[in-house]
């Protein structure tokens, strides 16, 4: 049991959730490695939402609100770290959830679907009758009515290859990735360089604030956003940290 007073309580609790996820068969064992990687980048970012990330979160909300057919992709880490938060965002921006795993097994997909439903998820795409072009079979599987035909996909902690394949399909991709250098971060249209535990609630909050804006206002926010510049902002945050130490 980790005491609430522990200076790294949040980070340690997040780690515990991932370990629990592995024990429940929801998170893949590789998810632990992804968690470790995230921890390192979060540490270098000072474990807080940067100005750049907050901006990306606001623009993501606008993109989701403007979308005709948005879908939120859920993987094994997201499913244990922020299930309620994803369900809430799904409701606010009217974007069904779809389970999409890098290390895919039908058993794990079903477990995650059940897990999300038990927490109140209503609108989910659960078929695997479509294939993303350019990916090896198992990793390409998606729902024809879901990610396959979506115009906007929010992908938390996505693999670089699949992010690129989604972009190549003409979709607008929003990624949540603590590594601003990753291929996913570099190839998405909007990259949120923030811990998923802070990012999803922040996008929901922004979506609620923007909900009554008209499409022109939302579109202006999106047009003014430069993902490359925003990513550079995050990289500069890390440089600032390292320079301070060196």
């Amino acid at each position: 049991m980790i005491p609430k007073s522990h200076p790294r309580y949040e980070s340690l609790m997040t780690r515990e959730k991932i370990v629990e996820g592995v024990e429940k068969g929801i998170t893949s064992i590789q998810g632990l490695i992804a968690q470790g990687r995230g921890e390192a980048f979060d540490y270098l970012l000072g474990e807080k939402t940067s100005k750049s990330a907050l901006q990306a979160e606001k623009v993501s909300a606008a993109v989701l609100l403007l979308a005709k057919k948005p879908v939120i992709s859920v993987n094994g880490n997201a499913a244990v770290l922020v299930p309620e938060e994803l369900i809430r965002l799904s409701d606010i921006v009217n974007a069904p959830l779809e389970v999409n795993l890098f290390h895919r097994t039908q058993e794990r997909v079903n477990k995650i679907i059940d897990h999300l439903r038990s927490l109140g998820a209503k609108r989910m795409y659960t078929k695997s009758d479509g294939l993303i072009p350019g990916l090896e079979h198992e990793r390409a599987k998606v729902d024809i009515d879901g990610i396959f035909s979506a115009d906007v996909v929010l992908v938390p902690l996505e693999d670089g290859d699949r992010c690129k394949a989604l972009v190549d399909m003409g979709k607008k991709v929003i990624a949540i990735d603590l590594n601003p250098l990753s291929r996913t971060a570099q190839c998405a249209h909007v990259t949120i360089v923030d811990n998923i535990t802070r990012a999803v609630p922040n996008v929901s909050r922004a979506a609620e604030e923007l909900k009554n804006s008209n499409d022109n206002e939302l579109q202006r926010l999106v047009n003014e956003f430069d993902n490359k510049k925003n990513l550079n902002g995050s990289i500069e945050e890390i440089i600032g940290h390292l320079t301070f130490i060196c």
Copy 2:
């Protein structure tokens, strides 16, 4: 199965080895998170050996060749990532291997000893009749004839506390740690900020090149080395890398 065509095949295969290690009972589950943290720093270093690291690798070879009683410590991650490479280095510099685990169980120690022997390790210290002063009992266990009485210890991926305890015993400590900010990196005498998969072969190569040098030449290499400066070099490499991308 990761397709060979995947652009991050090497990194993903390394990850698979750790996962396999967990499944075999050789690597601890915490080793997975450590692996992820290492991956993040490797990303930031451009996943290649920096000039600073290469220098530290050369000096490490000199330190090992000069040692009267060098020992190479092996943990659960090292045992699955670079077992053959450690055995080879052990032969070249005449430094037996000793299994030393942060999350120690005798069962896991035995598994790793068997694993290393099956791959050809001959000279190993396998007792646990000594205690490193200042550490909690289980974590303090070492072989009296091995790490306990060694003058030089190479510790790949070591815990900060234990690194400090070894230094306090008067040993010369060579650490391999991708995080130049970690306590281990900061407290070792020679810190190799490089991926263990590149570091160990590099130290072996340098040892072969230096094998015919006389002790004065080796000692000069060691004397000229400034670990703090070298670490700052690694941090600057990261900053340079980030600045280039940015």
